[in-house]
Symmetry: C2
Subunit: 441 residues, 2 copies
């Protein structure tokens, strides 16, 4: 008998690689935080002696979701700042309004609230874009989640930094401190790059190449952004950025709701990573991402939630449903593609596909279990179809990151949910939300 | 002190009428199954002596959802028959494939499974279209749900009836038997009306007028249906039906994904009831329902699920989000409109708005409570916004129909969920699903 730290037996395992595979009565064997083997349960019981054994008799076990675009701290703002006139314009004003709340404390409380939501809905890795990434990095480490932190860049001063030079300095210093942490990675996260000077964009590109980190930016996110780029640069955003050397496989382009056919071909040629945020795109009336076209062109498309829901099951369902109507084909984006987008494609977008995103032996044991023994998923003809079209977040029972169990039968093991909710509620108190602004005035 | 059967105190009550009202710390007083009063909790405690008191300290109390288009028995087929080539064509072939399963037993097991899902997600009334409506009527009565049963009509023989004449005879006889039941109502439910002879359509219209019942039909549901109508009648479906006197306020037109602007104006003039099924429309790539345009034209638009999910919270969110993107306005279909569509507009579509759909005194006490004390809905700035954009079905804690509690703290009081799930699972057994066909061969 070979010793193992953890053996998880599940009714169904969907490893994402190979695509579409559904393995019944299989087990994942974990040692030193990594997947040692994926094999039939009966064989696992014969071959491995498990320090900890877990039985999931009614569950689908999948790679944990990779949420490829988040603003974790904005979890605190849901329902508080919904003036659509802001959201239809460029990102800058929407960000500026947040100076009212922005502080290290806000970033901590919001990141932790988002982590509660992410773990409870099966997410094991997120790609964040917000002020105070140092605070979010610490929160992710305390919690045990895998995170790609945005080294945020803007010319606008905030409570986090006074101008682009300081943003860059603080971001790169943060990365230097944490670059050997196995759960953390980093990306430059410029806000509204099309409003930045060409020299700044070149500086960011050069730094990203030197440090070999991705650049994470919202692009082609609104018609207004495209219009502004045409006015300022006489080019659409992608053409403008292409001329500055930005279109590489290290670019994580979020939203991409309004690309032309030739832009789609260009994204595919350059290997640009695209992140589709279905619910956020609909809610802010950004336009329709041509998902099926992007996938057909060979573009790697991941899924993200943006700033509020953090529910990748909901995004996966919405993305798959929406894609069918947009392209007029009910067979477009089948369940296996949707799950791949929510897991492996996200890992690939972040440059982490050797580490996570599927259940290949050697990868970290980043896992989520979904209980299918609920009336909404019975009778169960096809676990993959029911997972994508029928399951909801409350069915997520267990989550592991690098073999460490962070959600156990619906209970968080590293986060104090009651304390986090109590701190979140305090941001609603009248006067409280104005405190940082008052303090800095 | 005035005696009352039931007083429910909730942190928030959203009565739907007046639209947008959110009442904090209010109570609903119920006597003889009907709403006697809606008033501040403190006053209710002074004025009413309740036989049963219920405290919902973290909950939103709303009118129960009205699901304005269901095929309840098809709950058993989810994931079993997903060939998209069927769903892109006319309804008829998709229905025909069901002859494999169709039987009274199938209708009973499927209806009961759907009722489990509906109650657990806050639905108190549904508008059904399926074979064996007698079986579904009995199941609804046993369960205590409010139901509008479809007197299904098609020329194609099935296990339920041999031809249109028998469908009509069995349907009207069923209605005669049950027409005084307070929880039941009836509508004619012709399948694919544009494929029927004009004389049959006129017969249905005449019968509907005589009996004063609605006609419930899928219309403008696919591009193929419109194409067929143009070929067969040299008219689009609505023009064809208008010439036969079908466009009245007694017509419940389901899907309506591809109306022209002049058709929208015609629907508004005639007072036709429209049912939008957002997730089903997307999934089957039927096209985009111009929801905001229909509402702006003054059309009464309700929401329905079709045959699988039965989750009106999900439809409400999907419908509201989708409408914004379709019309390019993030302010379109705000949360209050979405909730109204899922409740009062549904009741109105079924001719039941004097009975249910809002919390006006005198209506039946058809209620659903949603627990907002979950991390996904905190902090809670706006209960209406969080209900529509943030809540999921598992937060539905309590449901009453006509003052009778059918879901209590998440547990069903009239349905045996375990037995229903066990019966549902039996339809998966190999050979079992072919039994009715084999029996009739």
């Amino acid at each position: 008998m070979t010793p193992a730290d953890l053996v998880i037996h599940a009714r169904w395992v969907i490893p994402v690689e190979p695509e579409g595979a559904i393995l019944e009565q299989h087990a994942i064997v974990v040692r030193d935080g990594r997947i040692l083997a994926l094999l039939p349960s009966a064989e696992a019981r014969r071959q491995y002696h498990a320090h900890t054994g877990v039985e999931l008799p009614d569950h689908v076990l999948i790679p944990g979701f990779v949420n490829a675009h988040t603003h974790t701290a904005m979890s605190l703002l849901r329902g508080a700042a919904e003036d659509p006139s802001l959201t239809l314009s460029l990102p800058e004003p929407a960000w500026t309004t947040q100076s009212r709340w922005m502080s290290a404390e806000f970033a901590r409380d919001g990141s932790e609230l988002a982590m509660v939501r992410m773990l409870r809905s099966g997410t094991t890795c997120f790609n964040d874009m917000y002020f105070f990434p140092d605070v979010t990095a610490e929160a992710a480490q305390r919690c045990g989640l895998r995170a790609c932190l945005g080294m945020i860049v803007t010319e606008a001063p905030s409570a986090w930094a006074g101008g682009a030079r300081e943003y860059l300095a603080k971001g790169t210093a943060l990365r230097d401190r944490h670059k050997d942490e196995p759960l953390l990675s980093f990306a430059f996260a410029p806000i509204a790059p099309c409003t930045m000077a060409a020299s700044r964009l070149q500086e960011i590109r050069t730094l990203a190449d030197e440090l070999d980190v991705p650049v994470h930016a919202e692009l082609n996110a609104t018609a207004a952004e495209i219009q502004l780029s045409l006015q300022q640069h006489a080019q659409r955003p992608l053409a403008h950025l292409a001329a500055l050397g930005w279109l590489t496989s290290n670019l994580i382009a979020v939203y991409m709701t309004l690309p032309t056919d030739s832009e789609i071909a260009g994204l595919a040629r350059a290997g640009v990573q695209v992140v589709h945020c279905p619910e956020s795109s609909l809610r802010l009336a950004r336009g329709f991402c041509p998902l099926a076209k992007l996938l057909a062109a060979g573009v790697n498309v991941a899924l993200g939630t943006g700033g509020s829901a953090f529910d990748m099951l909901a995004e996966m369902r919405c993305g798959a449903l929406l894609a069918k109507a947009v392209v007029g084909d009910a067979a477009a984006v089948p369940p296996a593609s949707a799950l791949r987008m929510a897991t492996l494609n996200g890992a690939r977008a972040l440059g982490l596909d050797q580490a996570t995103g599927s259940l290949l032996p050697g990868k970290w044991a980043d896992l989520a279990a979904v209980d299918m023994n609920v009336p909404e998923c019975q009778p169960l003809y096809d676990p993959l179809s029911q997972l994508v079209y029928g399951a909801s977040r409350r069915q997520v029972s267990d989550v592991w990151v690098a073999g460490r169990q962070l959600l156990r039968a619906g209970a968080l093991t590293t986060l104090d949910q009651d304390a986090i909710l109590a701190r979140a509620a305090r941001w609603q108190e009248p006067g409280r939300s104005a405190t940082p602004e008052a303090a800095s005035a």
